[in-house]
Symmetry: C2
Subunit: 138 residues, 2 copies
DNA sequence: CTTCTACTTTAGACTGATTATAAACTGATA
DNA sequence: TATCAGTTTATAATCAGTCTAAAGTAGAAG
């Protein structure tokens, strides 16, 4: 995917293709594999790998905008900070509670049976399965 | 359960039965049903319902001590703050993302099939299923 | 090309949950 | 009763995330 594609993608979804947003698109979507990251991870990555100092506020703004457009997902865990995910397919995670490492599990890999009915008046939006793991002691 | 039972419970697990811990035990474990709460919820509850002003730091200390002893569980969600749970059985949750309300789902209600093997060298500690729900619009 | 304006970016202030500190207090033991 | 490690507490510190208001910029219009 080239620069111009991101510009179109942004414009088509009503986001002005600013220098910062385009660079962040490159960082997030010009990759072999999807990945998980924190806001700080991304801010540092932009600086180091893309030579682009983007203010933290803008990184937050952009990620929230991208999330609203469905370009990234946000994941919350036992941690204090939240993670973003460029894998936007419905999927689950292994989560290493010691290292904070996240590993995808394809949605089709786990079968959920007998999901109970939601409380009256509410409907299910999404189901998150987190399998907490830890290094074998010894 | 009476006061003396909590004193024994605390002593048996190596926690000094202080006035604050005993009162918190009463608040948490002298109930019909288990429940979910935040640190602030509990601090306020102690003041209002138990006429016991306990410093926030102590509430944190106590909850973390109780968690380590397995008397409560901690639940992390998309929220900024974390929740505690007096239901220490292995179970899952409905989570209303708008109201932050948590509702228990008995572990036996949901059947998880084909759980993939954890990454090499890691083993599964716990599986959390969160079913995000929302009020039916209209 | 220049002007105009709404949308963006930004530094820095602010918030709110949680943790750290260090002094005062207290349960257990002798 | 004296002693002391474990506890409580007020308060400061931390840290992710949000807010603000000023400066910058993309895009439209002339
Ligand atoms: Mn967020
Ligand atoms: Mn905690
Ligand atoms: Zn993922
Ligand atoms: Zn629960």
């Amino acid at each position: 995917m080239k620069n111009q594609d991101f510009i179109n993608k942004l414009r088509n979804s009503g986001l002005r293709p600013t220098k910062q947003r385009i660079k962040i698109c490159e960082a997030l979507f010009n990759t072999e594999k999807t990945f998980h990251f924190t806001v700080n991870d991304l801010a540092k990555m932009m600086q180091k790998n893309f030579n682009e100092k983007i203010s933290l506020a803008t990184v937050y703004n952009t990620l929230h905008a991208f999330k609203k457009k469905g370009y990234v997902k946000e994941i919350s865990l036992g941690n204090d900070k939240s993670y973003f995910d460029t894998n936007i397919s419905s999927h689950h995670h292994f989560y290493d509670t010691k290292t904070n490492e996240l590993i995808d599990i394809d949605s089709s890999k786990i079968e959920l049976k007998n999901i109970p009915n939601p409380p009256k008046g509410k409907s299910i939006k999404e189901i998150d399965v987190v399998i907490n793991v830890e290094n074998d002691s010894q």
